[in-house]
Amino acid sequence: MLTLNFKFAQQRMTALKVALNQKTDESHAFGSNAATNGQADYTIFSPNSPQKVEFVNKSQLSGPSTSHEPPKLNFSTEFLPTFVAHL
């Protein structure tokens, strides 16, 4: 049982590391504040602790970006202002 728990913790840590790396990449692309704040994309709150438990279950992600093509649509300077202007 101990081994299983240890394995589970290891998997979660690996998922977190992968996700943080990917979020950093995404943040670079979009200028998002999410990664710079160190916030996870998906957060599960622990019912037994006042502190939230953060991790990103992104094992289903398509994997690290293989494209070196720079982003064309800038999220913060192009998409967001345009979107808001139409509301």
């Binding site: 709150f45 398509s62 064309k72 800038n74 998409f79 979107f83």
Partner: protein
């Protein structure tokens, strides 16, 4: 980051969370829009429990998540009516829309002449405006 609009909408950028109450969890949309005032979660001001529209701008590393698990989580937000997936490499926006029956419809808008009608907000969003500063290479 709360943004002002001409109507009674509250628009939030990528630093705000949307709570998935049934999972006791939260996710971070790129953009979410609430009609009227947002409902603040017990977690605090940065966590909202209602959103009418959510937008994700797709990146190569997140596209699978945004179309899959993340969408499944958004579906658990009862107030959510429309979910937009915005491609950044070509003028394409996928819109998933919750129907009265509970089913979700899927429509792709492709081309700069297309105009998305967001029925839940009553606004039109031309792709030409979204991609106004983007130069697409001829294929």
């Amino acid at each position: 980051m709360r943004l002002q609009t001409n109507r009674n909408y509250s628009v939030f950028g990528a630093d705000s969370n949307l709570e998935i109450e049934v999972e006791d969890a939260s996710v971070m949309p790129d953009v979410h829009v609430s009609c009227g005032e947002p409902e603040i979660s017990k977690r605090g001001t940065g966590f909202h429990t209602n959103a009418t529209v959510v937008v994700e701008v797709l990146s190569p590393s997140s596209v699978g998540y945004d179309r899959g698990d993340k969408f499944h989580r958004y579906m658990l937000v009862p107030s959510l009516m429309e979910y937009l997936l915005v491609d950044q490499y070509e003028p394409r926006v996928d819109v998933l829309c919750r129907q009265e029956t509970g089913f979700w419809s899927f429509q792709t808008y492709f081309g700069l002449d297309q105009v998305i009608h967001l029925s839940s907000l009553g606004v039109d969003l031309p792709l030409a405006a979204i991609y106004a500063k983007v130069k697409f290479e001829a294929k």
